[in-house]
């Protein structure tokens, strides 16, 4: 009786479509990352719709090109909220796009699930509408620092592209290794250039045991080629953002051999990650794709859990679908079935376990170390 009544109410509330959106960089500095994220979002929405939608309602997905630029982002998010009537906005790769759009989302009671790393985002007043699928950058720095300490060298040199990730990453790294007696030097460079000889020259002059790459694939490819040509003999480690398939293809097998990456993962080999590998047909997945997968799954499951497609409902149910006592779920279809059956679920994602602090940051992250062998990332 009660069940039927409640689902009847939910039906009424769910009349019409479920509308969700994404703000993604298709052009501008983030251009290389946005397209695969959009493609994945669409793929999952199509799956859900093919399986009958949520509570019998179709999911409508819209995305806007933020051009990696704040003005376009503000107009884009206004269009998504106002014209497309979305209840959640995903994507938000760059901080320059997330920072001015977060107040708009919060004001309109629309959930934002962002990748952007800037610390200040979570500290903004957002009434709980902000969630970040990306691992805290400081933690990434610490993880790389801990890996470096294990390698046992005397000094590390970091090359970081000037972006919102660079400073927290640098602090996490330096504060981890310096107290343990390992020397850490870093330089921050302008990633929009094509010539990094001076940067590489400065790095190699310090004769570091470990070289750390903390840029985007575009600039890191050029830097890595330069490092190879200069005949650097030490160990090289890059962030997950840097050492991607694109990076490996760009530098070629000869140059990439033996490079390490320490990156956040709910573990390669986690069910979600494997599922995503199957979905995309790729063995190696960069963090943006993994996060996009988590973003859309979280939003869709939260809607299903709430039986309501509003921003406030998504906000209030985001943590309920990560019930530690619930049944573990790695994909949206299984999750929807369980929810429809009235069961409690625990979604664990492809990039992280997807448990959030009150400010919207991830509680903790697991890191994995991979090593490039013959052009492929292998557990190292």
């Amino acid at each position: 009786m009660t069940l039927a009544a409640s689902s009847g109410r939910a039906r009424a509330a769910m009349a019409g479509s479920i509308r969700i959106g994404a703000l993604l960089p298709l052009t501008g500095a983030g251009g290389p990352f946005g397209p695969s994220m959009a493609a994945l979002h669409k793929q999952i929405v199509d799956q859900v719709n093919a399986a009958g939608g949520i509570e019998g309602q179709r999911v409508e997905y819209s995305f806007e090109d933020d051009q990696t630029n704040p003005d376009a982002a503000v107009l884009g998010v206004r269009k998504l909220i106002d014209v497309n009537k979305v209840c959640a906005v995903m994507g938000l790769w760059s901080s320059g796009v997330a920072a001015p759009t977060l107040p708009i989302c919060a004001e309109n009671k629309v959930v934002m699930v962002a990748i952007a790393a800037s610390d200040s985002l979570a500290l903004q007043k957002h009434d709980g509408y902000f969630f970040r699928s990306n691992v805290d950058v400081g933690q990434q720095g610490e993880a790389i620092g801990n890996w470096a300490l294990k390698q046992g060298g005397k000094s590390l040199f970091g090359l970081l592209a000037q972006n919102p990730f660079s400073e927290p990453m640098r602090l996490g790294l330096v504060n981890t290794i310096q107290p343990k007696g390992m020397k850490a030097e870093t330089i921050v460079y302008d990633g929009r250039r094509t010539d990094f000889r001076a940067e590489v020259g400065q790095a190699l002059q310090a004769k570091p045991d470990i070289l750390f790459l903390g840029g985007y694939p575009q600039d890191s490819i050029i830097i890595m080629k330069e490092v190879f040509r200069a005949g650097y003999g030490g160990k090289i480690v890059g962030t997950g953002t840097c050492v991607t398939q694109q990076f490996l293809d760009g530098v070629g097998k000869q140059v990439s051999e033996g490079i390490y990456t320490v990156r956040p993962s709910s573990a390669v080999g986690s069910p979600a990650y494997k599922n995503l590998q199957k979905l995309t047909g790729k063995t190696d997945l960069d963090t943006n794709v993994c996060q996009s997968y988590d973003q859309i799954n979280l939003v869709l499951l939260a809607i299903a859990q709430a039986k309501q497609a509003t921003g406030t409902a998504v906000r209030d149910n985001m943590r309920k679908i990560g019930d530690p006592n619930g049944e573990k779920v790695d994909n949206v279809l299984d999750g929807l079935k369980l929810i429809a059956a009235g069961k409690s679920i625990n979604y664990e994602g492809a990039a992280s376990p997807c448990k959030f602090t009150p400010t919207g940051n991830l509680v903790s992250a697991i890191f994995e170390t991979l090593r490039v062998a013959d052009g492929k990332l292998t557990p190292g």
Binding site: A198, I221, I222
Partner: protein, 285 residues
């Protein structure tokens, strides 16, 4: 001291490659009196033409460079004809602004076809040669030589051939050249072809040295403008001098300021230089 020498070597190598599109920019300016900012996109067109020839068709780098020269040159002429020529009567700045819009069009044609992914050309990676502690990369030397060869070929064309002399005559005095029976429109087309062809060559050289993506032209174009202006707009020897000076300034500045500032250094340098030489170092116009 060793470090300074290394930076000097790097600066000359980088400067020679900057000089190639700077010459392209200046040759167009000399004949048409127009700043064609779409040169950034034509660098990208050249880089992708080179990529197509080298990776997709399997041609060696030198043929890829030739292909880039022809395709960027042709794309330059076609886009100039369609987009810019109808505007020439309305002032140089109007055309320059239109060329910024044209740049957007061309860059996005490239993006539409090839996507945003970063790609590399198919050339073997070689370790640097080390002379007395100075690193010199074989690829960089190859690129340097190609840049020099391209410049020498262009100089020869302008100095020793009838058509080259005719083009210089138009650059010096269009009315007089017209009286002598030289068709200025034809010379304009040739200048755009050669200039944008040079941009295409630079695109492949950058691609060989680094990697290709649709923004490759935008990444270097400010340094190219700086080189062109510093040497003197419309001056071809000026572009060479300007390219070398900008290349050196960007490298040597890293001795005193953080590397992240090096692109600003190039421009700060030219602003200072232009206070002394308001028409550029070798400019006479």
């Amino acid at each position: 001291m060793l470090q300074v020498f290394q930076l000097l070597v790097n600066g000359v190598m980088a400067g020679a490659i900057l000089a190639v599109p700077a010459i392209g920019f200046n040759i167009v300016f000399a004949v048409l009196q127009i700043s064609n900012f779409s040169i950034a996109a034509l660098i990208a067109v050249g880089a992708y033409a080179g990529y197509t020839a080298n990776v997709l068709l399997g041609l060696p780098p030198l043929l890829a460079i030739l292909a880039a020269f022809l395709i960027s040159g042709a794309a330059g002429v076609a886009s100039d004809r369609l987009a810019l020529r109808p505007l020439r009567g309305y002032g140089a700045i109007a055309v320059a602004i239109a060329s910024l819009a044209l740049n957007m069009v061309l860059e996005n044609i490239v993006r539409f076809i090839f996507g945003n992914d970063v790609r590399s050309l198919d050339v073997p990676m070689m370790r640097d040669w080390i002379f007395e502690g100075i690193h010199v990369g074989p690829q960089a030397v190859f690129n340097f030589l190609v840049a020099i060869a391209a410049m020498v070929a262009l100089f020869s064309l302008l100095s020793f051939t009838t058509v080259g002399r005719a083009m210089r005559a138009v650059a010096d005095n269009p009315t007089l050249a017209n009286i002598k029976g030289i068709d200025p429109e034809k010379m304009a087309r040739l200048a755009v072809f050669l200039g944008m062809g040079m941009a295409g060559i630079a695109g492949v050289l950058l691609a060989l040295d680094t990697a290709v993506d649709p923004t490759i032209g935008m990444r270097v174009v400010l340094s190219v403008f700086a080189a062109a202006v510093l040497g003197g707009l419309g001056s071809i020897p000026g572009a060479v001098v300007g390219g070398l000076l900008i290349g050196l300034a960007e490298q040597l500045s890293t001795l005193v300021v953080p590397v992240a500032y090096s692109s600003a250094i190039g421009f700060a340098a030219i602003i200072l230089a232009l206070l002394l030489f308001p028409r550029g170092i070798l400019g006479d116009r």
